[in-house]
């Protein structure tokens, strides 16, 4: 099995302000492969909750434009996940 790489995968942090925006995230999860980091799964997403999810670079642009169109509050926590995966080993061997 070939290991999975996450080159230029992104982690978004979105703050749905109301039920409508929470449902937009749930709809995005139906048509895109969102890996929820917080909460654990799409059906826990609710208004006024911080929602973190990982998404591939390919899908991130369309997701970002949906968030923009709906004037949703979001930030990109991680711009290239693979880079962060490699950077986590930042302590030298003894």
């Amino acid at each position: 099995v070939v290991p999975v790489f996450f080159d230029r995968d992104k982690v978004f942090r979105v703050k749905p302000q109301d039920e409508k925006q929470a449902n937009i995230i749930k709809d995005l999860a139906k048509t895109n492969e969102l890996d929820f980091w917080y909460p654990d799964a799409t059906h826990h997403v609710a208004a006024n909750m911080t929602v973190d999810f990982r998404i591939s670079e390919k899908e991130s642009k369309s997701v970002q434009s949906v968030l923009d169109q709906n004037k949703m509050h979001y930030e990109i926590l991680i711009h290239d996940l693979q880079e962060e995966i490699e950077k986590q080993f930042d302590v030298e061997e003894d």
Binding site: F36, P39, D40, L81
Partner: protein
């Protein structure tokens, strides 16, 4: 990843197994290793018993139930190291270990942890095969026999929180629940370690109803988070799972509580999302040091307030 085991680094499963052997050899009078079962892929599930006497109060601690939450197993290793190193030197730890035992499960979801090292760093579940589905794995923290029908978790094997075909369907879950049931007389507290989001949580997850000893649990969690902040001013929040985060079913915390262990806590360790599951190794030690303060406080409280 070459090199030796290090408390300042993330260690793969082979290094952790070797480390368990080293700890037993180094402190045979204090540390014993118990094989409580094996995983779906036949890896051993090891609990380290820290303490000298069978008949004492005990605290059960598990780490690594979700594969990608690497800071969690790092903390369990740190705890065992600190407990054995400071016995006879640190007054509180000496008193704790003279009067109670700790059962530490350094990695609960061994197969998933190995997978997160070798194939997919973002893996969460175990690696069991699901009937009639090509999707792999069960979320072990939805597989416990509690509130199974009250608000059915997801039955979709492809979901990251798939609860499994039945309560305790997973070998890992069964091994842990059997061990805890066998030692129920002595186990006075259950603490499980996850990441991320810096929270100290207690029951219930499956209902917003408050547990009968809510005041007690809330007080312990509040002081525990205060103690954490004394080291590096790290801010944790605390409270019942269902109201603090969201309702979840089948969790180990609720199962242990309803079994009769009336002090059960879940730590969501650092951080709050800047790195998420990819907490850099340079933050392992500060995270472990501050968490140690809270765990020692909880242990002291259990020692004093449980019969």
């Amino acid at each position: 990843i070459s090199g030796r085991h290090s408390y300042a680094k993330y260690n793969n499963w082979d290094k952790i197994v070797a480390w368990t052997e080293k700890m037993v050899n180094k402190c045979p009078e204090m540390v014993s290793r118990i094989k409580i079962g094996s995983t779906v892929e036949d890896n051993p599930l090891y609990v380290l018993k820290i303490g000298k006497d069978e008949r004492r109060k005990a605290i059960f601690m598990d780490c690594g139930i979700h594969a990608r939450e690497w800071i969690s197993p790092a903390f369990c290793q740190w705890f065992v190291y600190q407990a054995t190193k400071s016995y006879g030197k640190n007054k509180i730890m000496t008193k704790l270990l003279d009067r109670m035992n700790f059962y530490v499960l350094p990695v609960f979801n061994v197969d998933g942890y190995i997978w997160s090292w070798t194939q997919n760093r973002m893996w969460r579940k175990n690696r069991s095969k699901n009937k009639n589905s090509s999707c792999i794995g069960t979320d072990l923290n939805r597989n416990f026999d509690v509130s199974w029908n009250s608000s059915p978790g997801t039955n979709n094997p492809c979901s990251d929180i798939y609860r499994g075909p039945a309560p305790e369907s997973e070998k890992e879950t069964k091994a842990v629940t059997d061990f805890i049931r066998r030692h129920l007389k002595s186990i006075k507290a259950y603490i499980t370690f996850h990441s991320y989001s810096q929270m100290l949580l207690f029951p219930y997850g499956y209902t917003t109803k408050l547990p009968p000893n809510y005041e007690d649990l809330n007080k312990v969690a509040k002081i525990g988070t205060d103690v954490i902040s004394t080291r590096y001013e790290t801010r944790y929040i605390y409270g019942p799972i269902a109201s603090k985060i969201y309702p979840t079913t089948g969790s180990s915390l609720d199962w242990a509580y309803d079994l009769g262990i009336k002090h059960t806590f879940a730590f969501e360790l650092r951080d709050k999302g800047k790195f998420g599951f990819l907490l850099p190794e340079s933050l392992i030690k500060p995270t472990c040091k501050e968490t140690m303060l809270a765990v020692k406080f909880i242990a002291k409280y259990i020692l004093k307030h449980t019969s």
